[in-house]
């Protein structure tokens, strides 16, 4: 029942959107006053204030505000950036692709590595390989992503200047060929993707390893061995296939974490993705940008989650059935 997945995602999205709607209005006192943060020294200009007022339609009743808000979102209008004086949509369109690139690469690398490592570790449970990997992964899990990023930065960009320090591209560079552009982007992508990938890797590895271990203890593994099947078949077709299910099922959650971690990593490497956008918006208390960016990220994650669930339905015979 595929539409069920879509329905659930739509309901979730609506919930998220409503929370974003409610937040500024839930703050005590004049919402506009809440928008003026006590810590920032810069006051909001009357012009910006007027913009905000019309944007939030604070003079209208709540229901009408909500209706207007939803219709605005449906048209793809994410509001107007106070600090940069452009539609939020434009900013998001400029920054989101970089985050998607970073996130996509990291998740792919993390998925492949963690699956192979998890299967291998579980197969040799208790032996040096397993213990070593477990220890390493546990240690990785204990490090905040920005710490990992900082370490990588220090080691591979400062002490040994192998990779660039910051950014997604060399500024003002001219490329001889599209390959050159790809290469440049790639070089800048390595460290951030490595940092993000490593932070995601540990939980994925543990999931695969533990599911695989419990798979290996099942009767069907004994039967598989009794049938004289080579280890390769046992590991991947019988054990791995079972471990694949929870792995795919949790992709949505992983994307959720990934998006959060990417903000931290982007900050360390000054990578021009959504993280940078959000942080700048926080500094200037540019609320429309914050909200818009958050919605864009939420939508991304929900899409990944929906896609993962659909794939799950194909993979899991208990659901796939005739």
């Amino acid at each position: 029942m595929r539409w069920r997945v879509v329905m659930t995602s739509a309901v979730t999205l609506l919930a998220v959107v409503t929370v974003v709607f409610a937040l500024p209005r839930a703050m005590p006192g004049d919402p506009l006053a809440a928008l003026q943060d006590r810590s920032t020294a810069t006051p909001i200009s009357p012009e910006a204030s007027a913009h905000l007022r019309s944007y939030y339609r604070l003079d209208r009743p709540l229901g009408s505000q909500y209706g207007h808000y939803l219709s605005r979102l449906a048209r793809g209008d994410l509001g107007w950036s106070i600090s940069r004086n452009v539609p939020v949509r434009t900013l998001v369109a400029a920054h989101l692709p970089w985050t998607l690139l970073l996130l996509g690469t990291s998740m792919a690398v993390a998925a492949a590595t963690s699956f192979l490592a998890g299967v291998a570790a579980a197969w040799r449970r208790g032996r040096p390989l397993d213990r070593g990997l477990l220890a390493t992964m546990t240690a990785l899990r204990a490090l905040p992503p920005y710490a990992l990023a900082a370490f990588l930065l220090v080691v591979l960009a400062v002490l040994l200047p192998v990779f660039p320090l910051a950014g997604a591209r060399t500024p003002f560079a001219a490329y001889g060929s599209p390959l050159g552009a790809v290469g440049d982007v790639g070089r800048h992508l390595v460290l951030p993707a490595a940092a993000l990938g490593l932070s995601l890797l540990s939980t994925r590895f543990l999931l695969v390893r533990n599911t695989m271990v419990s798979s290996l203890g099942q009767d069907y593994m004994v039967l598989g061995r009794a049938k004289g099947l080579p280890p390769r078949l046992l590991k991947y077709r019988h054990g791995g296939r079972n471990a694949l299910l929870p792995f795919v099922a949790s992709l949505g959650v992983e994307a959720g974490f990934g998006v959060g971690f990417s903000i931290l990593v982007e900050s360390v490497f000054a990578y021009p993705g959504m993280g940078t956008l959000i942080l700048r918006a926080v500094e200037t208390r540019d609320y429309p940008v914050l909200e818009g960016a958050f919605l864009a990220l939420a939508l991304t994650v929900l899409s990944v989650n929906a896609a993962a669930e659909l794939v799950m339905r194909r993979l899991d015979p208990r659901v796939a059935g005739r």
Partner: protein, 295 residues
């Protein structure tokens, strides 16, 4: 270890596993940090924001960890970070675990509609990117430590809820609970006598996990600039360090950037160790396994 037992033969008494060594190491680390947090006001030589030395001084007797670009004592700031981290670990961690735990227990016990609604809510929270959500909420609500802890507790309850719900659900229909109902026991009696003791261990392990998560989040938020401006946190120290343009042209990164990172790693390691020990103690797995190797 597989034992040749089956239905009908006397079961061997399961060996109660001892607490693994790793648990003691974790407790020691955590204990150390807790002591530091309590003793911080006595230990700090200066006020955190005071310009007590020359900028970028290397570590010395006067400044144990050196100073930052403005001349503030880093040791004091680190101590302040200990307090912040421990505060959040305790408040936000237990908040998330207890809130999630209670929700999970009730959902598991009542089942039906309540369970469905609660689980949907939990699933929604788990999927949406929570760090960005936190950022947005904190941007509105203010950066105080208390505020941040509360918000963390309110957004990170699903993990504990799911674990406890699963536990309660498996207990719910055990025969000894049905028997208690047969004696005329109401839900409060059954919950108290039978469910709570069993879930205690699981709750403890969820609590440890939540504490670890909370520390990571607090430090992360501070790193992003959403920290309390009046209280230095390890995250904010790292942020200040990375913001300083010439950081890597001097050797100052060694005493400015590294110590807060290491401190964070150490505290989280301690919490993780305790978590691992708790997990191993609660779940002795007697699984045999097929593996490559001798027949």
């Amino acid at each position: 270890m597989t034992v040749v037992t089956a239905v009908g033969s006397r079961p061997l008494r399961p060996r109660r596993p001892t607490v693994p060594r790793i648990g003691w190491i974790g407790t020691a680390i955590l204990g150390g940090f807790a002591a530091l947090a309590v003793a911080a006001p006595l230990l700090a030589p200066y006020r955190a924001t005071a310009l007590s030395g020359r900028p970028l001084e290397p570590p010395s007797l006067a400044h144990l960890v050196g100073t930052n670009a403005v001349g503030q004592d880093l040791f004091t700031q680190l101590l302040s970070g200990v307090r912040a981290a421990m505060f959040v670990a305790v408040v936000a961690g237990s908040g998330a675990a207890l809130l999630g735990g209670s929700i999970g227990v009730l959902a598991g016990w009542w089942g039906g509609g309540v369970d469905l609604v609660v689980m949907r809510a939990a699933d929604v929270l788990l999927v949406i990117p929570r760090l960005p959500l936190l950022i947005v909420i904190v941007a509105y609500a203010g950066p105080g430590l208390g505020t941040r802890s509360t918000v963390i507790a309110l957004t990170f309850w699903p993990e504990a809820a799911k674990v406890l719900r699963a536990q309660v659900r498996s207990l719910r229909h055990r025969d000894h609970l049905t028997a208690a109902t047969g004696f005329g026991a109401g839900p409060s009696h059954s919950l108290r006598r039978h469910v709570v003791p069993e879930v205690g261990l699981v709750l403890a392990s969820a609590l440890v996990a939540a504490a670890g998560r909370a520390v990571m989040l607090e430090v992360g938020l501070a790193f992003l600039g959403l920290g309390d401006p009046n209280q230095a946190s390890w995250g904010s120290i790292v942020r200040d360090a990375l913001k300083f343009q010439g950081l890597f042209f001097t050797r100052a990164w060694a005493w400015w950037l590294l110590p807060p990172l290491l401190a964070t790693g150490l505290l989280l390691a301690g919490i993780t160790f305790i978590g691992l020990a708790a997990e191993r103690w609660v779940n002795p797995r007697l699984a045999r396994h097929v593996s490559g190797g001798r027949p």
